[in-house]
């Protein structure tokens, strides 16, 4: 019986560790799926602001989800919230107010596809879904059937799937690069309006596109070469 008890000590430890480590690693690695529920498009320069959260804050403060440096926008100006029956905009006690289709709202108002929202002098068009209509200056591309990144060093092919792909040193990144000069969350590719957009997050090592450093989200074209340190990837797409 002593032998059985001796063995049981190890079995118990093994079983508990198997459950806890599996669950803990899964909890740490798993990220909620990023979805684009709506888009805000700046009517002056067609800049797009995807709405990825159920509650998206708009304001001048850097803690907001969508930031405008414009002084007519309050630090915490408004919140766009997705509720069961659609989207609502809330004025979070801003100084200059929130306007929907030219009319100032009182506390909150339901908003619909194509509504024009104004925060101070920032004017944006609101689109439900991840794509804006044809009436803005972007031409609507055909859907991407397949998009890939090919590592030019070993011809390893990474298929771009879902709405976003993360690149970095961090475990759990979709494309994990184990190099000390690569940041934990180095760059991200997001699918917007049927185009893959690359955005650099690293302040340590630059991400370049066809030899030029990326400073802002940049759409990818077929055959583009992305470089992160010594790693180079060719972007290819079939529409």
């Amino acid at each position: 019986m002593d032998n059985l008890e001796f063995i049981m000590r190890y079995i118990l430890c093994f079983l508990a560790i198997a459950v806890i480590l599996n669950c803990v690693l899964s909890l740490i690695r798993l990220r909620p799926e990023k979805k684009t529920y709506a888009l805000l498009v700046d009517v002056t320069n067609d800049e797009q602001f995807p709405i990825n959260c159920y509650e998206t804050s708009v304001g001048r403060s850097k803690s907001c989800d969508i930031v405008f440096s414009n002084m007519t926008v309050s630090r915490s100006h408004a919140v766009i919230a997705l509720r069961k029956d659609g989207f609502y905009i809330f004025d979070t006690e801003s100084k200059t107010g929130v306007f929907v289709n030219g009319e100032q709202i009182n506390k909150s108002q339901k908003i619909f596809n194509g509504d024009i929202l104004a925060f101070g002098t920032a004017v944006l068009k609101f689109y439900i879904g991840s794509e804006a209509d044809d009436d803005i200056s972007h031409k609507k591309d055909a859907p991407i059937a397949r998009a890939t990144l090919t590592n030019l060093a070993d011809n390893n092919v990474f298929k771009l799937e879902g709405d976003y792909v993360t690149i970095g040193r961090k475990r759990g990144s979709n494309i994990e690069i184990s190099a000390p000069y690569v940041s934990r969350e180095h760059a991200e590719l997001t699918l917007q309006k049927n185009r893959w957009i690359i955005e650099n997050f690293s302040s340590v090592t630059a991400t370049t596109l066809n030899g030029e450093i990326i400073y802002s989200p940049t759409p990818l074209e077929n055959g583009d070469v992305i470089e992160i340190g010594d790693f180079a990837f060719r972007y290819e797409e079939n529409r």
């Binding site: 008890e5 118990l12 430890c13």
Partner: protein, 411 residues
């Protein structure tokens, strides 16, 4: 290099947990006296049944996918139930009943939080009820182990401060009334200080510290205003110093802190024994029922981490601590994509509360922090504590938007 992460396989994990529970049950039955065997057997078998009922219901009826949070909670609760059955076999059924109440509370609270409106509507009644409960405890509770925080109702003892923890997180998150427009903390500060003040009057300083820490986390998440929080912390610190100045007996409770070995057989008795026996357990422990720490007062409550170290081993003890950290990481990860700030704040508040409480318990018995007599979440014996832990888990589960069907579709 392209990696995809998936949820753990529920059925494999459930099989491993069941094996773990059956091995624990076998060990317990082998050592238990004949008059306790039936109670232990029934409690464990019913616990496993409840566990299967929950997972099968959630997987097959509600079609949920991610179960890591619950799997961890069920395993930790199994460890706690095993320790209770081993040290106090006569209390096994009572502890099992409390676990079932906790699991029912977890399911009901999850269901209640599927909609935001009722949560916001109930914030004031819950706050009033919580303060009322604390006031009732201050007046009517009896002194037990140096703190006046136990109420006896019909032979059942209840610790109101444990139940108020759930209300505290709920009110803290739900009183962000007008969707990020009302960042004033005044009402929440009044509520928090009423709760913490009551706990001071009850001499339950450990729980008061947990409430204060949770208050700081929730306040920061609500306002993002570091200056206000620093002012509140400074006021609280000064208040604490004044209490120590005018009520020196409070400081006497922590006289052994930092040098418990000098009080080896007096006020440092529990900590010194915990450290000795924890180390003697080694990596894999001495086996269920073979430890010595079980003989020390409060071994299944305040000193339970030492019992885990001694009887289950350091590896398992480390894994248990890791699971509290993982719950907090999970809450933070999902906070940004939660259905509302209410879910984000409540999940981060609940998981931070549990991690802080676990830290107070573990560091307290090892003399890194003063021994405040708080429980180790899910593992320590105690009905109110286990009910509170399971209900707090509902906040963590609710932050994941895939928990609920939204507009008829599970995200």
């Amino acid at each position: 290099m392209l990696k995809k992460t998936k949820n753990v396989n529920l059925y494999i994990m459930l099989f491993i947990i069941t094996l773990f529970q059956l091995v624990c049950l076998f060990s317990l039955l082998f050592k238990a006296k004949s008059e306790h065997k039936l109670g232990i057997f029934i409690s464990f078998v019913l616990y496993i049944l409840v566990e299967y009922l929950y997972f099968i219901g959630a997987r097959l009826i509600l079609q949920r996918k991610g179960f890591e949070v619950e799997l961890i909670a069920f395993l930790l609760t199994s460890i706690g139930l095993t320790i209770t059955a081993s040290v106090y076999p006569e209390a096994t059924i009572k502890q099992f009943v409390a676990v079932v109440i906790g699991i029912v509370g977890f399911v009901v609270l999850q269901w209640f939080m599927r909609e935001l409106k009722p949560c916001i509507a109930l914030r004031i009644p819950v706050a009033v009820l919580a303060i009322g409960l604390m006031a009732f405890a201050v007046v009517f509770a009896k002194y037990t182990n140096g703190a006046r925080n136990w109420i006896y109702i019909g032979g059942v003892s209840v610790q109101p401060s444990e139940l108020v923890k759930v209300a505290f997180v709920f009110v803290g998150a739900a009183s962000l009334e007008k969707l990020q427009s009302n960042k004033s903390l005044t009402k929440f500060i009044i509520f928090a200080f009423a709760c913490v003040g009551a706990l001071f009057l009850m001499h339950d300083f450990g729980t008061a510290l947990i409430f204060f820490f949770t208050f700081v986390v929730i306040s920061f998440m609500r306002s993002g205003d570091v200056r206000t929080i620093l002012i509140v912390c400074t006021v609280a610190l000064m208040g604490g110093l004044l209490i120590l100045l005018f009520r020196p007996y409070v400081a006497n409770r922590f006289a052994a802190y930092g040098h418990v070995w000098e009080y080896f057989d007096t006020s440092g008795y529990q900590q010194t024994r915990t450290m000795i026996y924890s180390a003697s357990g080694g990596l894999f422990g001495v086996g269920i029922g073979n430890g010595h720490l079980r003989e020390i007062f409060a071994s299944t409550e305040d000193l339970v981490f030492g019992v885990v170290c001694e009887e289950f081993g350091m590896i398992m003890a480390g894994a248990i601590l890791l699971s509290y950290v993982a719950l907090l990481v999970y809450s933070i990860r999902h906070a940004k994509y939660a259905r509302s700030t209410f879910y984000a704040i409540s999940a981060c508040g609940a998981s931070a509360l549990m991690l802080f409480q676990a830290a107070l318990n573990v560091f307290g018995v090892n003399d890194i922090l003063p021994l405040t007599g708080v429980t180790l979440p899910f593992v320590s014996r105690g009905g109110s504590s286990i009910i509170c832990c399971w209900m707090l888990l509902a906040f963590i589960k609710a932050v994941d938007r895939s928990t609920y069907r939204y507009g008829g579709v599970r995200q």
